[in-house]
């Protein structure tokens, strides 16, 4: 604190005496420190920092001082007031924290109470796995093609090189709409979409066709009269079985993870020639369950391989029926059952669960698979 200034105006103001200012400040600080709660602090604020508080009054009187004294007095009073204001702020924070601590604790709830008030839903896993499979093809540059479920025999059979007397074309296997003479059936596979795609799209054609299909199988654990298939079709110049294999390998990698082997064996379908069946290495045990002493694998029944689907090179007769020159273009096709894939990929045990619509079955699958 500075010494009394002899240049002071004789008209001295008591309140501005350094001792007075210091006293007012100390009293204020003591009162602030003593304030026990926010209400008390409010009163202390009024008394020691309010308009009528000694320091405020002192401050007002500075203006009456001669100019030479103003600076010194102003500085002193200002310092005192700042000290009080800081103390108030600090005390306020402390008391607020104390109050919050107390009140918020009182407001606490049991957060383990159940909160399930919004119903939640799910999409059917057949829908979502079909989308997922289609997306793998879409990522390869394929487009998703569709066709009608009530389909003409010409699309479902004739154009796909099924001879008129093919055993599949009987009521034993196929649902006929109206009668056996209408030429209209519930499509028995997604392959008619191949024909529709080849007739409606410019070449080259790269499409994937997921969809619902029908056969006269009784509903049991592994069959249903209504089921879903997905097939990929590529028709371009110079396609070979190596491209078929590459397409399937890419699909397996996209759907089940990288590094799984595939294997092919010859088979027969009217609409492909050559035709094949394709197996993939089990994505769970990666083939190890066949080894002696290895733990059994439920997914592949410890065979190491899982049957994936059928495939082949598009039969040139199919291309001809679609008006495509088989000497210039060739193609491959690959198809598989969606429910079957769902069953082995997610350990679903029975077709009944897939078709009954029980919410307990569907909910765990969420909205994507």
């Amino acid at each position: 604190m500075s010494a009394p200034n002899k240049s002071f105006d004789p008209v001295e103001v008591t309140a501005l005496q350094p001792e007075e200012v210091a006293r007012a400040r100390d009293e204020a600080l003591a009162a602030i420190a003593a304030a026990g709660d926010l209400d008390e602090l409010k009163r202390v604020r009024l008394e020691h920092a309010g308009d009528r508080s000694p320091l405020a009054l002192a401050n007002r009187e500075i203006g009456a001082l001669p100019p030479a004294a103003k600076a010194d007095a102003g500085k002193r009073v200002g310092q005192a007031r700042r000290a009080v204001s800081d103390a108030l702020k600090e005390r306020q924070a402390v008391l607020e924290a104390e109050r919050d601590e107390r009140v918020l604790v009182e407001e606490s709830v049991d957060v383990t109470l159940s909160t399930g008030r919004a119903a939640y839903g799910a999409r059917h896993p057949v829908t979502t796995i079909a989308e997922r499979m289609a997306d793998v093809f879409v990522a390869m540059g394929f487009e998703v093609a569709e066709g009608p479920e009530v389909e003409a025999e010409w699309f479902n059979f004739d154009a796909l090189n099924f001879i008129p007397d093919h055993p599949a074309r009987t009521m034993q296997d196929t649902f006929f709409v109206g009668s056996e003479e209408t030429g209209v059936v519930l499509r028995t596979h997604t392959s008619p979409v191949q024909i529709r795609s080849l007739l409606s799209r410019p070449l080259p054609v790269y499409v994937v066709a997921p969809g619902r299909t029908y056969r006269t199988d009784e509903l049991d654990a592994t069959h249903a009269p209504v089921f879903h298939q997905l097939e990929g079709l590529a028709v371009d110049e110079g396609l070979t079985m190596a491209d078929l294999r590459g397409g399937i390998d890419a699909f397996v990698a996209g759907m089940f993870g990288e590094g799984l082997k595939t294997r092919f064996r010859p088979s027969y379908f009217p609409f492909t020639e050559p035709s094949g069946e394709v197996d993939m290495q089990c994505f769970v045990c990666r083939g190890t369950s066949v080894e002696r002493g290895a733990p059994p694998c439920r997914t592949c029944r410890s065979e190491g391989w899982i049957e994936l689907g059928g495939c082949g090179m598009v039969n040139p007769r199919v291309l001809v029926a679609c008006g495509i020159d088989p000497d210039r273009y060739s193609g491959w096709a690959f198809g598989l059952g969606i429910e079957r894939t769902l069953m082995f990929r997610h350990d679903v045990r029975s077709f009944h669960d897939i078709v009954e619509g029980d919410v307990r079955f569907t909910l765990p699958f969420g909205t994507e698979i």
Binding site: R212, E273, P274, P316
Partner: protein, 826 residues
């Protein structure tokens, strides 16, 4: 086709150590679908030996006849002494040879044999029946062996009681593998070992005709062969080895003559038929059916024959349905000594149609449908008469009747590198030719090959067929993998993306997706309370439904969903919210009665495609939802909210919103909804569906809880209203001005009409409108209802003044008054 390994070995020089499973692996790689390998008799362990019954003592005092026998098993028991055996069967006599299992042996099925005391005697083993040996179904009696069977011999070896049996599913293009001959040929190629053709027998030089026969219809049959035997010993028994093989192959032994024809059919693939010579009348003619003809077949069914049926006839009329089933009148029986053996080549499609028409499925028809080797009849018939002579003492008559029609040989021309271009590997001409020759083709040419397929491969007609033969025999595992090379695609279509969004949005608002079968019935139409001539009653009918209860294809998604909802409720889940997305099938009134079968030797014209599509129904994509119970659950927080008509409409709006389409609701009366709680939903002026609470009769009919709600909308129609795109809105940061108005209107006035009038009257600066109270009661006045709205106004460029806001509110009220008779409530 079930093929015992021992039978295959007769014609393939397989190394002795090759097992059934190993061979199966090779055959699978070559394209034969081996489903299982049964290890027949694998658990049979000896000593199982041939014995001679020396003495039989009939034991009395038991509930059934019991015999105490002494059986000579030679040195097989180590002592040479007869075995004492107790036996419960009586079909053998002293001197008979039988199969005896000695103590320590194990019969198929893990049945262990020990010396044990029974019926007061110690039985040292067992005399075996056919079923105990695992070579037949017959439990009734002991297997009695021919008396020349060497006593003491190991019966397991002698009769092939231990064998691997390959069960092979035959694909329709490979009829030739419906035989040991065909499978053996594949096995030889697959293992690279020599093959001996069982049909390769030397025929006797021609010596005149046998029983007279001719072909009257060349489209039905192009080769018909008859041979004759006389003096067949009707008492002759089928040898045990043949019985075992027939059993392994899945056929039951009948009689020696029938067993021989079956055995050769299995071995060669050529169906054979034996007629009793004495029952034939006049020359045989192969022809199609004639009007009014009938035939009583072996199964004692009298069949009305069809003009397209392929028939074997004599002067009495039809005597056999070609390659399908013989007639009863000419059947061989236990007294038949003179027989005519038929081996023919019938038209595959003709036999297939005949079998289907008469619902007759025989082993013979199965083979003819899949094509039989046209060159077999002469050889197969010769082997048959030879076997009847060797095993049944018959005399073979020297002549053969051979009627045939000329057949144009098929050749296939193919570039020598065609298989390379199909497979994506270079095989080279030499490999291609070698593989085709292994298949049985005759190949000529250099860069262009001309292949004549063998008679047993009528499926080889196209270059790709030949390519497949080369590729499969070289191994599918050799085909490399080449990374996909599709160009950039356009991704999903707007409609495909919309469907995914709808699914996610519905799931996100609490609905669970179901995929129900699209089968329905008239009863559903009744249960839905549809009017008698309602368009949804016009449904397509299946000719062969899974169940006569549901023969129709759905015209609405709702019945299937109601059943799924009721199933969940029945399983204890009363609060159900389900949705389904899928097509319905609406027949076109102008559809032709059938879809034409276009040709397939060229692409169809657009008009031809249109003519096919015209016969198909409309198949619009629908979305439907059904709700029962609480939409928001009750809990410790209080009472939940029961799903109501509004939730159903909101579900429809959720669907439409994903398409960027705003729906307006109008009151409607439409089944299956409650007539006072049903909204017709419009996108612009297009009706897209309905929503609301269900009619109480409907909930009762489907066993749904009271007040269940539902909606169904046509997604294609909604998508048709989809806006092109969203223009980014300009956001005004000026303050909002809020005005409340309360109006009373006639109770029947639609709130939507009031709101749209307010909206129109309020003008462009109206930002939003919200109905916050609906009141019907005394204060609203008799027959009136009160609607209270909050209007929010905001300008893009300024703060609205109180006067402006009031003016806009008054304009809104005036419009409502004008259009709906609304009065300001004071």
């Amino acid at each position: 086709m079930r093929a015992p390994l021992s039978w295959l070995r007769e014609y393939v020089e397989l190394p002795a150590e090759v097992t059934g499973r190993e061979l199966a692996e090779r055959l699978i790689q070559a394209g034969l679908e081996v489903e299982t390998v049964d290890q027949a008799g694998a658990d049979l362990t000896g000593p199982l030996v041939v014995g001679e019954v020396l003495a039989i003592e009939e034991l009395t005092g038991f509930k059934k006849p019991i015999r105490y026998c002494q059986v000579n098993v030679g040195q097989a028991n180590g002592t040479g002494e007869p075995q004492n055996i107790v036996c419960g069967a009586t079909n053998f006599a002293v001197g008979d040879h039988v199969a005896v299992i000695l103590p320590g042996g194990v019969l198929p099925g893990g049945f262990e044999i020990g010396a044990r005391k029974t019926y007061g005697h110690v039985s040292e083993g067992m005399i075996c029946s056919v079923s105990e040996l695992g070579i037949g179904e017959d439990h009734s009696g002991i297997l009695v062996l021919p008396r020349d069977t060497p006593v003491g011999a190991d019966a397991t070896e002698l009769f092939g009681l231990r064998d691997d049996v390959l069960d092979i599913a035959i694909s329709p293009d490979r009829g030739y593998t419906l035989s040991i001959r065909g499978i053996a040929r594949e096995a030889a190629t697959a293992c690279g070992v020599p093959f001996r053709d069982p049909a390769d027998v030397e025929l006797p030089s021609a010596s005149g005709e046998s029983y007279p026969a001719s072909i009257a219809d060349a489209t039905a049959c192009d080769r018909f062969v008859l041979r004759e035997v006389r003096g067949f010993d009707t008492a002759a028994q089928t040898p045990v080895w043949m019985r075992v093989r027939l059993h392994r192959a899945g056929m039951r032994p009948v009689s020696l003559a029938v067993d021989v024809t079956n055995y050769l059919m299995l071995e060669l693939g050529q169906p054979l038929h034996a007629f009793d010579r004495s029952k034939l009348n006049g020359p045989i003619v192969v022809r199609r059916g004639e009007p009014g003809e009938t035939l009583e077949t072996l199964d004692h069914v009298r069949r009305e024959l069809h003009p397209e049926d392929i028939l074997i006839t004599d002067s009495s009329g039809p005597i056999s349905m070609a390659g399908t089933m013989g007639g009863l009148a000419t059947e061989i029986d236990e007294k038949s000594a003179d027989m005519v053996i038929e081996a023919a080549h019938f038209d595959a499609i003709g036999t297939a149609r005949m079998g289907r028409r008469h619902r007759l499925h025989s082993e013979a028809a199965y083979r003819f449908e899949r094509e039989v080797d046209r060159e077999l009849p002469l050889y197969a018939s010769y082997r048959a008469v030879r076997m009847l002579a060797e095993l049944g003492g018959a005399e073979v008559l020297p002549g053969v009747t051979h009627a045939q029609e000329p057949v144009t040989p098929v050749t296939v021309t193919m570039a020598a590198d065609h298989p390379d271009r199909v497979a994506g590997i270079t095989y080279g001409r030499a490999t291609v030719v070698r593989r085709l020759e292994q298949v049985g083709c005759t190949v000529t040419g250099d860069d262009t090959l001309t292949a004549t397929p063998p008679s047993w491969r009528p499926d080889l007609t196209d270059p790709n067929d030949l390519a497949e033969e080369v590729i499969r025999l070289e191994g599918y595992d050799k085909i490399p993998s080449r990374a996909p090379r599709a160009g950039a695609g356009l991704g999903l279509t707007p409609m495909q993306r919309l469907r995914r969004r709808v699914g996610r949005a519905m799931a996100g608002t609490g609905y669970v997706e179901v995929l129900t079968f699209p089968f329905t019935s008239e009863r559903d139409a009744d249960d839905l309370q549809l009017e008698p001539h309602e368009s949804r009653r016009r449904a397509l009918r299946l000719a062969n439904p899974m169940s006569e209860d549901e023969p129709l294809l759905r015209t609405t998604l709702l019945p299937g969903m109601f059943k799924a909802a009721a199933r969940n409720v029945g399983r204890g889940f009363g609060d159900v919210a389900l949705f389904e997305m899928g097509p319905v099938f609406r027949p076109r009134t102008d559809a032709p009665d059938h879809a034409p079968r276009l040709r397939v030797d060229r692409g169809p014209t657009p008009e031809e495609i249109a003519s096919v599509d015209a016969a198909l129904p409309e198949q619009p994509m629908r979305v439907a939802a059904v709700l029962t119970g609480e939409r928001e659950p009750s809990g410790w927080w209080g009472k939940g909210r029961v799903a109501d008509w509004g939730d159903a409409i909101e579900a429809a709006r959720t669907v439409a919103r994903e398409a960027g389409v705003e729906l307006t609701a109008r009151a409607d009366r439409h089944a299956p909804w409650h007539p006072g709680r049903c909204a017709a939903l419009f996108a612009g002026e297009t009706l897209v569906g309905h929503a609301g609470e269900l009619h109480p009769r409907v909930t009762r009919a489907y066993g749904l809880p009271d007040r269940a709600c539902a909606m169904e909308v046509d997604l294609d129609r909604i998508a048709g209203e989809m806006p092109d795109g969203v223009t980014g809105p300009e956001i005004s940061t000026y303050p909002v001005a809020t005005q409340d108005v309360a109006l009373t209107v006639d109770a029947a006035t639609a709130a939507a009409d009031v709101e749209s009038a307010l909206r129109d009257g309020a003008g462009e600066l109206l930002e939003s409108i919200r109905l916050f109270d609906v009141y019907t009661g005394e204060q609203a006045g008799e027959g009136r209802k009160s609607l209270a709205y909050t209007l929010r106004f905001r300008a893009p460029d300024r703060t609205l003044t109180a006067e402006e806001t009031t003016r806009m509110r008054e304009a809104a009220v005036a419009a409502a008054a004008d259009r709906t008779g609304a009065e300001r409530r004071t």
